[in-house]
């Protein structure tokens, strides 16, 4: 069966008449950081739950760590670490107790768990909060406790479902840095996210999911090369009631685009995106043509642009 830690073929999950995951193929290799990128409702979390051996697939083939989740669920879960979308710590316990108590479910000796808990609290920089109740901790701290808890059994694979959703920017960066360290230690990370910056920061390889299917896959750089241009020129026009909308401005640009101003123009409700390999040149041409955007921005293409290209929609609503 090769070296894949996770291997899915034609994986399907239906809830009644609703198809959450609609036939996906996935291979995740040891040591890589693999991402599922997509908007809410794309089927990412459902896929994670199937990989986590808590949600039986409706159809298709799934092997996790070489085992069948339908048969070997407990054996698979023994070697996984799971960070769920919503924190589910035991709020009646202290930070340290949460780790100690959790380690017992993996059948680990008490002394091992104790040593590991101390090490992990240090890793997530919460040693000084070890004896505090979990409940009053900040969102970022709770997340870090959850991550420490997920590592208590020294897992082969860590599943992280939307690890930084709902956190403030500073807490997100702390978390990314910790996850990056994990990755450097050779821990296999599987994560879902609807933040393209998170996917770019953490993932070696990712799949773009939309409506239960995989729209594209590759490394962030490969995806951008395959589905977008090098640069993007963003143009914002004044939004006046009854005035010309972005679509009208796009029409005004039509003669320029015909002459190769941009490979592609995306019309969003509040702005135009010109996809081109030379954003500054495109911007100069637009201004020379007499169009007057209120603001403009030339930037490199991101996974957001890949997603827009693949689905016609933006990632975050």
């Amino acid at each position: 069966m090769g070296e894949s830690l996770v291997r899915a073929r034609g994986l399907v999950k239906r809830f009644g008449g609703y198809t959450a995951v609609d036939g996906i193929d996935v291979d995740i290799a040891p040591g890589e950081a693999f991402g599922f990128l997509g908007p809410n409702g794309a089927g990412k979390s459902t896929t994670m739950r199937m990989i986590g051996a808590v949600s039986p697939p409706t159809a298709g083939e799934l092997r996790v760590l070489g085992m069948d989740p339908a048969v070997d669920g407990p054996a698979i879960r023994r070697r996984l670490g799971v960070v769920p979308q919503t924190d589910n710590l035991d709020l009646e316990l202290t930070v340290e107790e949460n780790l100690l108590v959790y380690g017992r479910y993996f059948g680990l000796p008490r002394a091992t768990v104790r040593a590991r808990a101390a090490e992990l609290l240090d890793f997530v920089q919460l040693t000084d909060r070890a004896g505090d109740r979990v409940e009053p901790l900040s969102g970022g701290m709770k997340r870090r406790v959850t991550i420490a808890r997920a590592l208590v059994n020294d897992p082969d694979v860590v599943l992280l479902d939307e690890p930084t959703t709902g956190l403030d920017p500073q807490a997100r960066h702390v978390l990314w840095e910790r996850l990056y360290r994990l990755k450097q230690r050779g821990v296999t990370l599987v994560l879902t996210t609807h933040y393209m910056d998170e996917a770019e920061q953490l993932c070696d390889r990712l799949v773009v999911m939309d409506k239960g299917r995989i729209a594209a896959q590759g490394s962030p750089a490969e995806l951008i090369a395959a589905w977008s241009t090098r640069e993007v020129c963003e143009l914002r026009f004044p939004l006046t009631e009854g005035g010309p909308g972005p679509a009208a401005h796009a029409d005004a640009l039509a003669p320029l685009t015909a002459r190769g101003l941009a490979e592609r123009v995306e019309v969003l409700p509040d702005r135009l995106l010109l996809y081109t390999d030379d954003g500054d040149a495109a911007l100069s041409a637009v201004l020379a043509h007499g169009l007057q955007p209120v603001s403009s921005l030339v930037r490199r293409s991101s996974l957001e642009d890949v997603f827009l290209r693949l689905t016609g929609r933006t990632l975050v609503d």
């Binding site: 986590g52 949600s55 710590l89 035991d90 009646e92 316990l93 959790y102 017992r104 479910y105 059948g107």
Partner: protein, 257 residues
């Protein structure tokens, strides 16, 4: 069949309990003192001046073992209603545990182990109060603690099954109002069910509480006989087993999907 993860959950709940065991212990002693004083001694003095309760014992001796078992019912249902729904829906701690090798059946077993601990320790405290009030008539009174345990589980298991199916907690208030309080009042704790009209008496016989109360009382008064005692215990075990199976099934349907 449950595995070692059940024990892990039991220890987890015990760890949480350690944070507030004092207030819980005070309640376990204070409540029987208040009940036995008000109803057993004061109200009992009025009852004993009249025809009294059957069997020629004082009202206090009649009431105390019944109350001990009824308190077990309350403790067990309390621990199996909001805390279980909370573990499923609000704090989602069961979700966290199902990401480990634990299975739903382990969670049900671990939860019932913890309820067993809570009921047993509370009943033991009640027994000490009962003895201090001089309400025991037989050394077999110590067996009222295991009877309380059986009764507690006979409620905990089906209430856990109910909690595992609920989306909202409103049903717990209804359960309390329409089932537990009437059962508490009419299942033989305060007066023999023979006082009830035939229909109500039939209903009382069907409740697990009546079986627990009757068995505990027979033991405390030294009037227990093996046959009926085994039937009472068997009936309570039946509720426990059926409730546990339903609870594991409901939890699986709810969380492994």
């Amino acid at each position: 069949m449950p595995g070692p993860a059940a024990w892990s959950l039991f220890l987890q709940r015990l760890t949480a309990h350690r944070h507030y065991w004092r207030s819980s212990a005070i309640g376990s002693v204070l409540e029987p003192v208040l009940f036995l004083a008000a109803m057993g001694l004061v109200l009992g003095s009025l009852v004993d001046r009249g025809p009294g309760v059957p069997g020629g014992v004082g009202y206090l001796a009649f009431l105390a073992p019944g109350l001990l078992v009824a308190a077990a019912m309350q403790t067990a249902t309390g621990e199996s209603s909001y805390p279980v729904l909370g573990a499923i829906k609000w704090d989602r701690t069961y979700e966290a545990l199902l990401a480990t090798p634990a299975r739903p059946v382990d969670l049900v077993a671990g939860h019932l182990l913890y309820v067993a601990f809570r009921v047993t320790t509370s009943a033991a405290a009640f027994l000490l109060v009962l003895l201090a009030f001089g309400a025991a008539r037989s050394p077999l009174v110590v067996l009222t603690v295991p009877v309380a345990l059986l009764t507690g589980l006979a409620f905990a298991a089906p209430v856990t099954a109910l909690a595992a199916r609920l989306e909202e907690d409103a049903a717990f208030a209804a359960l309390q109002r329409f089932l537990l309080v009437p059962m508490f009042l009419f299942s033989g704790t305060f007066f023999p069910v023979e006082q009830l009209p035939a229909v109500l008496r039939g209903i009382a016989y069907a409740t697990p509480l009546w079986h627990g109360v009757t068995l505990a009382r027979d033991l405390a008064l030294g009037t227990a006989e093996a046959g009926p005692a085994l039937l009472h215990a068997g009936y309570l075990l039946l509720w426990t087993a059926a409730g546990a199976v339903l609870a594991a099934r409901a939890l699986t349907r709810r969380l492994v999907r």
